[in-house]
Symmetry: C2
């Protein structure tokens, strides 16, 4: 079995509304000594997607709690200044994913409207430009229940089966594996974070050597139905 | 910035009670063309730790629900056959982490009693044998609230700060970063899973090129106090 390698993409511009991510990425690949191959996974931070898609708000002009409500299906918990909300996409996270870091003071970024669609568009453009069959993930750092700290998770994906199922397969003792489905897109997002680092400026990471199933499904596949969720 | 590389360790034996993990690992490194360097992260699956430590039960002789209760501080949710329990370590997971896969039929494995201590012991042995300053993580696949699928997370660690804090640091826009603490040990556990694969037999993975802070803290640092938890 081969190793997996995680490459940070350096020398990208400071992205803003209207920038073309695919064009900018392809332009710096050579400088980064990276050539795209089939099965590469391209992990892009939500920040630059939101900027390029103009999902920026002026927090002096808008009531942030109102904006959080507008971006949410449901407020799950509220204690003091912390609001845990279920976004329109179905993600459960602090402040509906609205964040004031890595943007000019006085502004905040909303999550992309349809991250799975954005991944699909980016994947198709890259495949058109390079002739390689790749997959694309958009990631963001979310907190979780019970465990301290945040981890990078996938909020959009295209070209990769988000949930890899081992149901029906056998382990090395010939036991059938029950109920094991690995959220591989979340593990890839977490792996990408290892070279992204919050305070550096690494918005795109390329992961090589991962075996995965090609699929048309997106991250919306990971959203658990409320009636199947023990913790809502 | 350098890339991160994730190497599966092949050719290890089928581990059982009394096997010496460090000895077996060091013996196969050359065959794997891996040489240990300072800052390498060694990720070991819970399965082999539990086996080596004799945490095996005969499920024909013991009442599994009784065993789950004995291994737990608290039963968090119970619906049908699914029990979500808080283990003595403070982990919240299905069946208190007791698992019937990757072991002979009729048996199940309990979680290690003190995974942080096991990591410390393994780290010290490896450092003694090789003279390299490394870190060790024990991982297991847990489900999570709200999102389908399982991901690999850390249940023990040594030599690495489990929670990397960016509080007080500045982003590229010179904004101070608030409340950003990355659970890097969980991201490393997830990254390791990318080459482990559930039905293959890859119990140890070596990750090279990660920048992290050396620390005496273990994964118990990640357990959130119940009074600070919104979802208990």
């Amino acid at each position: 079995m081969n190793k997996v390698s995680i490459f940070p993409v350096m020398h990208l511009p400071e992205f803003d509304t209207g920038h073309e991510i695919v064009k900018e990425l392809i332009e710096v690949l050579e400088e980064n000594k990276i050539s795209l191959e089939d099965s590469d996974v391209i992990v892009i931070t939500q920040k630059i997607i939101s900027k390029v898609e103009g999902r920026k708000i002026d927090i002096n002009k808008e009531d942030i709690e109102e904006v959080i409500k507008n971006e949410s299906l449901q407020i799950i918990r509220k204690r003091g200044e912390t609001i845990i909300a279920k976004t329109k996409h179905g993600f459960i996270c602090a402040n509906a994913g609205i964040d004031k870091s890595n943007i000019e003071e006085g502004f905040a970024l909303l999550l992309p409207e349809d991250p799975d669609k954005t991944c699909r568009d980016i994947r198709k453009k890259i495949e058109h430009e390079t002739g390689k069959k790749i997959s694309v993930i958009i990631c963001d750092t979310f907190g979780r229940a019970w465990r301290k700290g945040q981890t990078n998770v996938a909020i959009g994906s295209s070209g990769i089966e988000p949930l890899e199922s081992y149901i029906g397969e056998k382990d090395t003792f010939d036991n059938e594996l029950f109920a094991t489905e690995i959220a591989i897109v979340d593990e890839l997002a977490g792996a990408a974070e290892l070279v992204m680092k919050k305070s550096d400026n690494i918005p795109i990471v390329i992961i090589k050597g991962v075996k995965y199933n090609i699929s048309d499904l997106g991250v919306d596949e990971l959203i658990r139905n409320p009636e199947e969720d023990f913790f809502l």
